[in-house]
Amino acid sequence: MGQIISFSWINTNILFLVLSLAIVSNSIISLFYSAFKLKWPDLYFSVNDMAAFFISVSLKRYLAFRFIPVFLILTVVLGVFMKDQSISIATSAGMICMGVHALLSNGKAIYDLLKRSKNIKIYFNIAYQISLHVITFIFLIILGFLSGFLSKTSFVNIITPTIQGLTDNIWSALLTVILIEYLRLLYTEKSIDIEEVIKRSKNNIEPDIFKMIDYVSIKFRASPTLLKAICIIENIQRPKWVRKIENIKSFLRQTGTYGIMQVKSSRPISDLVSIEIAAENFFADTADMKSYETIAQKITNYNDSVQYRDLVIRAINYLDPLNGLYESSR
């Protein structure tokens, strides 16, 4: 027996290993009971609450719920990590790991009972309740010993992986998941929702730009919806940070297109000035235009790209259904 239970192995490395196992095994036990509580709440009862022993359906059920899962989890964990260790280390590790679990569950329950804490229900005889916890505590330590013993049997040795094997499996699983997710994203047909792009651009535009559009629309009798739509599309194609770079680039070459409306100028101009220039030069007297052809022509005069024209029309339709232009209505 002395060879099976022995603490002569205590050295830094083994101690570190055992403490790590205590953390790992208790974490797994905690996860198990949490998952059980979520999945079968009507079957779950707190492992701290000895009252469940009396209130629960049957002794068999209580024993099965309270002891079998922790025993199995610990046996498997020890089976993996204690392959290269002696039986004395395995049994000691088992008792320590189970002792930690017992402290966290029954030990805490005893503490709460003594403190008359509101966290635990006190039924009839407190001493009796405490003694039941103490018995469970001792029984768990014994169970820890048995886990350690069992983990060194050839059966458990066969069915549990080595640490290297476990690591390899975890990496394989992780890489497989990443690869599957990548392929799924790659081959899932997912078209870009242009309305979402328009919406984001609109909500990202400086408010002063829309205020300027309102002003120049009155001044030049321009369609505010058309101007806003063009700004939205220009903001997508040339976001603010790009426009800033264009302004910086002017130190090298002054003449270029500037501002959100991309107006040709011999010197850098702001977004607001570019709106006024574009409204006067390209979009004056568009306030009452309703037909697809006339609006499309105005856009083409500004930018002759067919794709650009179609995007602006999408933006117009997005902003205002009254101004909505539909090809089928031509």
Partner: protein, 212 residues
């Protein structure tokens, strides 16, 4: 904080885009969030960096106060949902006869059952947002409308219990349904929603419907 001067009457207008679908969410009386529809008349009381405080002047929340967020807010600049310009039609009358709804010179096909909705003159009231699933009717390139969720209650005289509506989509009992047709682009509901929302007979009545 900015207290608004003389020009303090505005309308909720910047909500016709596909994101807002004709409505904007406000906080009523600092308590609950509700949506106000396009063309709601408001009195602007004050402006802060986060919201505009308004008094609602028509619709179901008339005389209540609300906090209206900004449409766009970046750094210290804002762009509002409000506009000072909106022209109401004060005397809009819709006529319904033999499954055709006449709005000015425009005809729309509707479905209704004279056994369930009698002839007479009805008040068309401020819209509500239906809880029915209208997802199939949003696609405007297939005859749908972004305003499909807006249903207009219709009542006779001072009738209190409203169970009749003018709405878009497929037939529902006791209602006048503007028929969904994927071949008609743009769909008729676009025009009907805007026409009704730019009409006012009183604070809560938009127009009249005559069923012949």
């Amino acid at each position: 904080m900015k207290v608004v001067g003389d020009n303090k009457y505005f309308f909720i207008t910047e909500v016709l885009d596909s994101e807002h679908k004709g409505w904007v969410e406000v906080k009523i009386d600092d308590l609950i969030f509700r949506k106000l529809p396009y063309s709601t008349k408001v009195e602007l009381l004050e402006e802060t960096s986060k919201y505009q405080r308004i008094k609602i002047l028509d619709g179901y929340f008339k005389d209540h106060y609300a906090l209206l967020p900004y449409q766009i807010k970046k750094n210290n600049t804002t762009y509002s949902y409000l506009s000072s310009k909106l022209i109401y039609n004060p005397n809009l009358i819709l006529k319904l006869k033999a499954n055709t709804l006449l709005i000015g010179g425009v005809e729309m096909k509707v479905i209704f059952d004279l056994n369930n909705i009698k002839k007479g003159i009805y008040n068309i009231k401020f819209p509500i947002l239906t809880t029915k699933k209208m997802n199939n009717y949003f696609l405007e390139m297939k005859g749908g409308s972004r305003f499909a969720e807006s249903w207009f209650p219709i009542t006779i005289a001072d009738e209190l219990y409203i169970e009749r509506y003018i709405h878009f989509g497929t037939y529902s009992y006791g209602c006048v349904t503007v028929k969904y047709d994927p071949t008609i682009i743009p769909g008729p509901w676009q025009l009907l929603f805007i026409t009704l929302m730019t009409s006012r007979k009183s604070n809560n009545v938009l127009a009249n419907l005559i069923i012949e």
